[in-house]
Symmetry: C2
Subunit: 480 residues, 2 copies
């Protein structure tokens, strides 16, 4: 197979074995392509090894910890309850290993060639792969770049001892539960980490990033979320950072808001923030692949780069840094390469937070809908009135639906509460199927279930939620 | 308001305050009707007081008990774990009271008049309501009958001491966890009770009712369910009852199958079985309301009886004895009475079992689809391959999708596994929206989530599930 100039010939080369890369690899193999996957660290990428999966193990444990006291009323009684953080870390590592081995086995069963090493473009159809002392050249028909991103250190905190400043990747290297944890951010990682470490015993303060005044969800979700955070004794700070300093082993952040200054003190600072694309060592400039001003690779709806036979998927292409996007793009790229007319459309990408309770949202928030020029109706239902939520004692949360008054089309579905993640797929499908209010009103909803909360939010659009107390009617109607 | 012959005048009278009746009452009040609700026992009916809600409290506790050992690996350690059944009973009673008070408060806030007593028809527009020594007559424009059903004692077990034979209503009167519990049935109550009492410490045997050879789900769900039951050490017996006897405090049932006889021994027998409509005392014959051969009230798609201005909803109308049907019919009846063109259509009624793990199913099973003449494709995905199920250590279960090969229309969605109940709404909506394979293939599914299992079941229809090992390919393709 070796050609003249010592280059191995390959059909499809994929650089990066994260969710984007490995989903692309398997899909291409399923469609009959001969696939080579190049990974420089570990299969599964950030998501599996350092991101979503570890974070979800933490929130899963946090959920169990929060519900322990509630189990007593069910007659499930425990003498002394202890929480062993290092055991949870071991479990996390076990799960990560297990899932990574699963990906390896899938690659093998799909006859995907796996190369370990650093890859970089030598020309439009040649890649060099370097590992230790070895160096080999591969010629390809198609390539997919799926190299992801890395956290960008935040200049605001550059003065601090770097061991005190944690990011999504390094937080799992801390061997103990921080005594006082400050979290800088407002995204899903912020909330997952805040609720997890609070459950593990940390005193947690969230400082919303970039001077934000709100979390990024629908206003109704934001209100309920802040209420829940306060109930969990997680402090929320809003304002602009005035000074960041260190005093002995403590990190101190002065925040100004409305002319008053507050000081947040922590033993560690977790920063959930910006990412930079992993493109530096790829040699993109050598082949003229177009990148945007932040260095992210520009792609079209087929995930093609400006060099037609080279595709790019996932975080390295910018936009939302979410595995869900990478997975879909990976499949689309491989399908496009295989001649299937697939296109990416992430209009209805859900936002998921595995907090306690979880948050799941799709479509427009109330503010976004109004800003987009819609005249809207909203329907909202508190899980406090839901029978199933009551019996499992998870009454926190609400479901809110936004429709366009004129067309009755569903514009957004927002859920905070038990079952939110599973239930949001109904909202996603409603949006994809261009559903109207009546399309969600007509079907049957299991009883008793959280699902009924979605129905009641829809019913609330026309004031017909059954389990919502009626506002006082006007005298006339009352005397009817 | 009292007329000549001492009859109070009312707009809409509803007999029975179960899910059908109280949903009808609130909906009618919302639509401007003046409503009188008559209940002879307790608001909330069987579902709330003796049925679904108590049963779901039990399965919720069972779920917690089953997962206790799993929490240890998360670092959540408990010295001695004890289960106090009487405390769970107290919790169950508390929840039932709380929900019932909720219904009362809703009736009040909707200005619904509540009458306690036995109601019976005197004529086509008069009802008598009797309570203790009191008796009053009400004249009405419309009435809704929502009187439900009662368990019918099974002749098979008539020889046994009645204290040993429990039904859905009486099981919660047993003050202790039965030592050995025999369960006769195959429906959702059978499974919920079996898994609950197994978790509480009973030795449990299920004897499928009426000589059935299978549970009533899709064959793939049945297989997985039997595997899970066996793993939980719940014995499953199939065959025909030869003899039922009692020996001291033990119930003994001899079952014959394939010429071999097995004896099942229990301290209690739970019979999940048939129901009879609560119509006897209603005086239906007096006004000529049509009933079927089993005594259930015959209704049309608007829930109207053969006497046009009288409607009937819920269990008393026959069909599936499920609150979900009663709730929907209650709303439809009140909407129809209020001049809204609502109709009942329960084609896509889901089957829900809050077992551990839960089962949720909608549309046709594989067998039903074939019997209906469809040429089908099926896609199936084991939760064993799902990342989120792996990390929460709930890998039991599967998702199966059935489509019509010709039209690609979704015919059925069947789930056993964590999140099944919340996720089935996606299946219900897909069926209601006449969705095709591509409609479930195209949208985004949260990552990591159980939802992705549904996507992979859809992908499996065309052999494109990512997390399923590929079967060995033919030599030709392998050498490509």
């Amino acid at each position: 197979m070796v050609v003249g100039e010592l280059a191995y010939e390959r059909d499809l080369l994929i650089i990066g074995g994260g969710p984007g890369g490995y989903n692309a690899a398997i899909r291409a193999a399923q469609l009959g392509k001969s696939v080579t996957l190049i990974e420089r660290e570990q299969l599964g990428g950030v998501c599996l090894n350092k991101g979503c999966i570890p974070s979800k193990v933490f929130t899963h444990a946090a959920d169990k910890l929060y519900s322990y006291q509630k189990n007593e009323q069910l007659g499930i009684e425990c003498d002394t309850l202890t929480f062993n953080y290092s055991k949870l870390e071991k479990y996390k590592n076990k799960i990560v290993d297990q899932l990574r081995q699963g990906v390896e086995a899938l690659c093998q069963s799909n006859q995907i060639e796996l190369l370990m090493g650093n890859a970089f473009f030598l020309s439009e159809n040649k890649i060099g792969v370097e590992k230790d002392e070895q160096y080999e050249i591969y010629q390809f028909k198609n390539a997919i770049i799926a190299t992801g991103c890395s956290p960008k250190s935040n200049k605001l905190f550059s003065k601090l001892d770097s061991k005190k400043v944690l990011n999504h990747w390094s937080i799992s290297t801390v061997r103990e539960v921080p005594d006082r944890l400050i979290i800088y951010g407002s995204d899903y990682i912020t909330l997952e980490m805040a609720m997890s470490f609070r459950a593990f015993g940390s005193t947690v303060s969230i400082l919303l990033d970039d001077g934000k005044e709100e979390f990024p969800f629908d206003p109704a979700i934001n209100r309920e979320l802040e209420r829940i955070l306060k109930k969990k004794k997680i402090a929320i700070f809003k304002g602009v950072i005035k000074e960041v300093k260190e005093d002995g082993s403590a990190v101190m952040i002065d925040v100004v808001r409305k002319e008053s200054v507050k000081t947040i003190i922590g033993s560690y600072l977790f920063v959930s923030n910006h990412y930079i694309p992993n493109t530096k060592e790829l040699g993109l400039e050598r082949i003229g692949i177009q990148i945007d001003q932040d260095g992210f690779i520009v792609t079209n709806e087929k995930c093609q780069t400006s060099v037609n036979h080279i595709y790019a998927v996932g975080d390295v292409t910018g936009g939302e840094q979410l595995a869900i996007k990478a997975i879909k793009e990976g499949k689309v790229a491989s399908e496009a390469i295989s001649g299937i007319p697939s296109e990416i459309d992430i209009t209805n990408i859900p936002t998921i937070v595995r907090a306690v309770p979880p948050i799941a949202s799709v479509g427009l928030t109330e503010n976004e809908a109004i800003e987009s020029g819609y005249e809207i109706s909203t329907g909202q239902f508190s899980l406090n009135g839901n029978g199933f939520a009551t019996l499992i004692d998870k009454k926190e949360g609400l479901i809110k639906v936004i429709i366009d008054k004129k067309s009755q089309l569903i514009l957004g579905v927002h859920i905070i509460g038990e079952g939110a993640v599973e239930l949001i797929s109904t909202g996603i499908h409603a949006l994809e199927m261009i559903a109207r209010e009546e399309d969600l009103l007509f079907p049957l909803y299991p009883h008793p279930s959280i699902n009924e909360g979605l129905l009641e939010a829809i019913e609330a659009l026309s004031g017909l939620s059954i389990h919502t107390a009626q506002r006082k009617k006007s005298k006339e109607i009352a005397q009817f």
